[in-house]
Symmetry: C2
Subunit: 432 residues, 2 copies
């Protein structure tokens, strides 16, 4: 299938911040074949007229717990401890494969409709989640965050080690690498050095990336320092956890020494501004991370702490927050936000996408040229970073395949999913 986009305003997301008006972008065999202002020769199976609308790389959601859609807003208004122990954990004990599939599909619908083409998902029953991602046509890095307490670690004693092996066998490399599996630690405070070493070896021996929660709360960060005399980044780095491509979710309370390690080892920070604010975790030092040359990407986190997955919202919030909290209107620019949401995310997940250039995978989104909130357009980057909403996305293409167009989901059965969530998953999980 070959597709030609014409009459689009193309945000290439190259280092020069090129924006091409009246551009053509050709897609062949799932990849971008050409980009320019002259119509390419050759025949295309389909031509899509953007009518001047913005065509840009799809957004990359680098930290999600997709199936948590089931728990959207559930138990809100309680302190963290009560919320987790009395609300979230009991529900999570009731998942079955059918319910997690329905709730993953629901979350994917929300992400796809708001322009996400690639995500990193850390949750449970990941074999089933992988099937949902495979069917939805989206790109995904899947992982199962390992947890292990106690002194007597062995891979055989650790259920999560077995699950990571299984997940690797089931999905890593699926569909020419559209699905990948990352090794994963839930966090420093839910595991032990023996597990860190096993995970580090597992990742290295299989050629996998790493996904871990880091310094989300002041308490977690401080307790790690009390326990080991060093920060979570430092403690895990020492055991080899960051010797592979790695993403560190949150990083709210990381310190200058952490940033130096992250920059040196190529650990990407995943900023989840809505979740960090909602849970009262604080404001991540995004401006300082960028200055320290750390690759900063964006995530929505689960909808139980956001409570939506519109990454346009998180992109805007990331920028607003640094400007406002530091009382500096130039703290970050629109381009910083766009880079966090696209190229930096693709880099964090080890993807050949996140920009518009020949040879990259065609993960692209097209925006409505006539949406009142995008008119006029003095500066395309600025409009995307500060004025756009997920609802402005009229087309979502993943690897050259249109998976969403004009409100219709082409890979997910919308009615069936809503019915499954309402009639099966919610009664099962919540007894109502």
């Amino acid at each position: 299938m070959s597709i030609l986009f014409q009459n689009v305003t193309a945000l290439l997301m190259d280092p020069a911040h090129t924006v091409l008006s009246n551009a053509y972008v050709a897609v062949e065999e799932g990849r971008i074949a050409s980009v320019g202002t002259e119509k390419p020769t050759g025949r295309f199976d389909r031509t899509i007229d953007g009518r001047g609308g913005i065509l840009m790389p799809g957004l990359v959601n680098c930290h999600a717990h997709t199936a948590m859609t089931a728990m959207r807003g559930y138990g809100d208004g309680h302190d963290l401890h009560t919320w987790l122990n009395e609300y979230i954990f009991p529900v999570e004990g009731r998942w079955d494969d059918r319910s997690i599939r329905a709730c993953t599909d629901l979350g994917l619908m929300e992400m796809i409709a708001s322009g996400v083409t690639c995500l990193a998902d850390m949750y449970m029953r990941m074999n089933t989640v992988g099937q949902a991602m495979a069917d939805a046509g989206i790109s995904a890095n899947l992982c199962n965050g390992a947890i292990f307490f106690g002194e007597d670690f062995s891979p055989a004693a650790c259920d999560d080690c077995r699950k990571q092996e299984e997940l690797f066998s089931a999905w890593h490399g699926y569909d020419d690498g559209r699905l990948r599996v990352d090794a994963a630690l839930h966090a420093e405070y839910t595991s032990t050095p023996a597990l860190w070493e096993w995970i580090a070896d597992f990742a290295k021996s299989r050629g996998l990336g790493m996904h871990v929660h880091i310094s989300e709360t002041r308490k977690e960060h401080g307790e790690c320092k009390a326990r080991w005399g060093k920060t979570p980044i430092q403690a895990l780095a020492e055991r080899g956890v960051f010797d592979v491509r790695a993403i560190a979710a949150h990083c709210v309370h990381t310190e200058p020494e952490d940033w130096a390690i992250m920059a040196r080892k190529g650990v990407s920070a995943v900023h989840n501004p809505a979740s960090n604010l909602k849970l009262g975790s604080g404001v991540a030092p995004v401006g300082q991370l960028i200055k320290a040359r750390v690759n900063v990407a964006l995530g929505t986190d689960g909808v139980s702490s956001n409570n939506s997955t519109d990454l346009f919202e998180d992109m805007k919030l990331a920028l607003l927050l640094q400007n406002g909290v530091h009382e500096d209107p130039l703290a970050l620019t629109a381009w910083d936000g766009l880079e966090m949401g696209t190229v930096n995310g693709a880099k964090a997940l080890g993807r050949e996408s996140g920009a518009i250039a020949p040879g990259l995978w065609a993960d692209l989104i097209l925006l409505d040229p006539d949406a009142p909130n995008l008119i006029p357009c003095h500066d395309a980057a600025n409009n995307i970073a500060y004025a756009a909403h997920g609802s402005n996305v009229v087309l979502n293409m993943c690897r050259g395949r249109v998976i969403y167009e004009q409100g219709e989901f082409l890979t997910i059965d919308r009615e069936k999913t809503l019915r499954e969530v309402r009639e099966y998953a919610v009664p099962l999980l919540f007894g109502k």
Copy 2:
């Protein structure tokens, strides 16, 4: 015209935080006639089946500069001084009535589509803006923020005093009070005590409310204290500016003594979180204002400093920000956000609306029951405050008249407005 909403989840926004499932809300002669779970008797001209969706009071945007849509994102990425003097002011010198009408209509489309039923607009060429509000069917408090420098104040020497008189004559009380005019000072730093006294008398003698920018930036607040030995709230209060119903936009740097005055005099604070963050002004003390019993409402400010007018976004942001900056996940609740966006806003603007109760004006919005981002719904208030987007609004009713439904604007000519903005206003204002 009588309309019956049936099969809706009604957020009444009463002090008891009542949410009625399977509710009926009857509208007659522009006002709410009945609310309940039993079908009312009588015949209705139209019945609207909400299919379980949320029906709630329309959002009230208490601080807008609507026509600034023209300058969405224009000159972004410069410091405030450069941005205002080299970008915004020169453009504002080029407005004519035709362009301001088109850009006001564009802004109203964005607000109406995202659930605003009532707004306070402070800008220029307000007679024309008033005509746009009249035609759009929306409720609005109009004002012309007076500016006067120099020692030799007299009403005759102050162009803005004349404009306020004219605006009062032209629009105050129009359509049974749907349009109101407020007296207005641009700000303490752009005027003198003689003008403050004139404005205070003008408001009192005409029975008007008051609209003024207060303590938006640290600089402004500090310079006022240096100039007068007191804060803007204190300086203006002394001259009678707050002896009428008043709205104070921003209040970012207000102090405990200010909050006491505001609570005592009934001055509403209008929180504009996106704008305050974007311009680097800071984070308003919303939690403390509420604790001090100040009525806190919400505004988008102009899109040149936001850059959108989706008040759902500002409602969520207001909540996230207090939780995050104070590292307290219970700093504000979902209901605090909903109250700021509805009842508190209506109170700030002196309106008999903002809640669903018999006798109030029928300013109502209906949300899509099948939007993936609102499913499931464990708690309607929580879903609205944290998960909803303006794009979930499927119907906007102002005073019993449906002005927007399923993507269609019923009072504004969408195509004509887009054409006018693109072909007339943008070339006139920006020479392109």
